[in-house]
């Protein structure tokens, strides 16, 4: 009798909540200070006689903001936790489905392997092609196209994560030795990632001249730190919880009331 799906799912939700909370802390401590610097750039634009509208530069809200800054900060943290739970649920389903195929020593190792694949495929790869931007960057006119490109890269990342193991099993079925299989897997992954990065067009936006390069760099680094924290926490907590699954003790079963 194997592990029930419900117990895997519960651990996924719990790990997702932890991951979301950890991400919220990183947003609060690392991302928000950079967002404040970017909002200062936006404020300067509206001070300079509303030139932003004519220049097509994003300036938030207008005269009266719909949601206050403090509400946005709290809303951001709540969103981070919701995203963590959703990712945790997806993680648990994929983990349950792929458990016997995932490499790694024990469930902790498998969990860390899956978290690494998840971070690389759906967070890191899209971030490399369509990097995150702070407020004050990003043309509202092109958001549809940027979103489409982002989704395409994300799906291609998932496709690579599914294709390479298929290739690996084909090679194994043909009796290829493990070292050769590893080499082919690595080369195939690198080649596919390079193809995606080269063939998919990048963001059509140019960064406005009044946004300092250091601000952009700090924000992209902060964004990656937040995503890495989420995946790392998810993998660690889920793995630790899975390691604590009590194996069913057959000897105790016949004891009935």
């Amino acid at each position: 009798m194997g592990l029930s799906f419900g117990s895997v799912l519960r651990r996924g939700v719990l790990a997702g909540v932890s991951a979301g909370l950890a991400a919220a802390v990183v947003i609060w401590l690392v991302v928000e200070p950079v967002i404040r610097r970017a909002l200062a750039v936006e404020d300067l634009r509206s001070v300079h006689g509303g030139q932003s509208a004519s220049a097509g530069l994003p300036a938030h809200g207008g005269e009266e903001p719909l949601v206050s800054r403090s509400a946005q900060v709290v809303g951001g943290a709540v969103t981070a936790v919701l995203v963590g739970v959703a990712v945790g649920v997806i993680f648990a389903v994929v983990f349950a489905r792929m458990r016997e195929r995932l490499a790694g020593r024990g469930d902790f190792g498998r969990s860390m392997v899956l978290a690494t694949i998840g971070f690389s495929a759906v967070s890191l790869l899209p971030a490399l092609k369509i990097p995150s931007n702070p407020p004050a960057v990003g043309d509202p006119e092109t958001v549809g196209r940027r979103t489409m490109l982002y989704a395409v890269v994300l799906l291609l990342g998932v496709a690579i994560a599914l294709l390479v193991p298929v290739l690996d099993r084909r090679l194994a079925a043909r009796g290829t030795v493990p070292s050769t299989r590893w080499a082919v897997d690595v080369v195939a992954t690198v080649a596919l990632v390079v193809l995606v990065l080269v063939l998919v067009p990048g963001s059509p936006d140019t960064v406005p001249a009044d946004v300092p390069a250091a601000l952009l760099w700090d924000f992209r680094l902060a964004s990656l730190a937040q995503l890495a924290t989420m995946w790392l926490t998810l993998g660690l907590v889920f793995g630790l919880l899975m390691e604590r699954v009590v194996p069913p003790k057959r000897a105790l079963e016949p004891v009935a009331a």
Binding site: M1, G2, L3, S4, F5, V8, L9, A23, I27, V31, E32, I35, P58, P65, L66, V67, A71, Q72, V73, G75, G76, A77, V78, T79, A80, L82, V83, A86, V87, V89, I90, V93, V94, A96, R97, R99, E100, S123, P126, A127, I130, P131, S132, N133, P134, P135, G138, P140, V143, R146, T147, Y150, F219, R220, A222, S223, L224, Q226, L227
Partner: protein, 68 residues
């Protein structure tokens, strides 16, 4: 020692049976992610979408999802 080693070596099956509803749950989770990250008025009314956008704004930027 030997029992533990042999038990893990012949661990019956590491596979977990995934019920059908789990895939519906997965679809719902993907939809929830879309909702907080990309809902820009495709399903909600414009003011409601705007409200959702502003509330999730900071996390969206942090997650690196394209935003305005």
């Amino acid at each position: 020692m030997t029992t533990a080693a042999s038990a893990s070596a012949v661990s019956p099956s590491t596979s977990v049976r995934v019920p059908v509803w789990a895939w519906a749950l997965l679809a719902f989770a993907v939809f929830a992610l879309y909702f907080v990250s990309q809902e820009n008025g495709a399903l909600l009314s414009a003011p409601a979408a705007q409200m959702l956008h502003e509330l999730t704004h900071d996390a969206r930027h942090a997650l690196g999802v394209p935003c305005h």
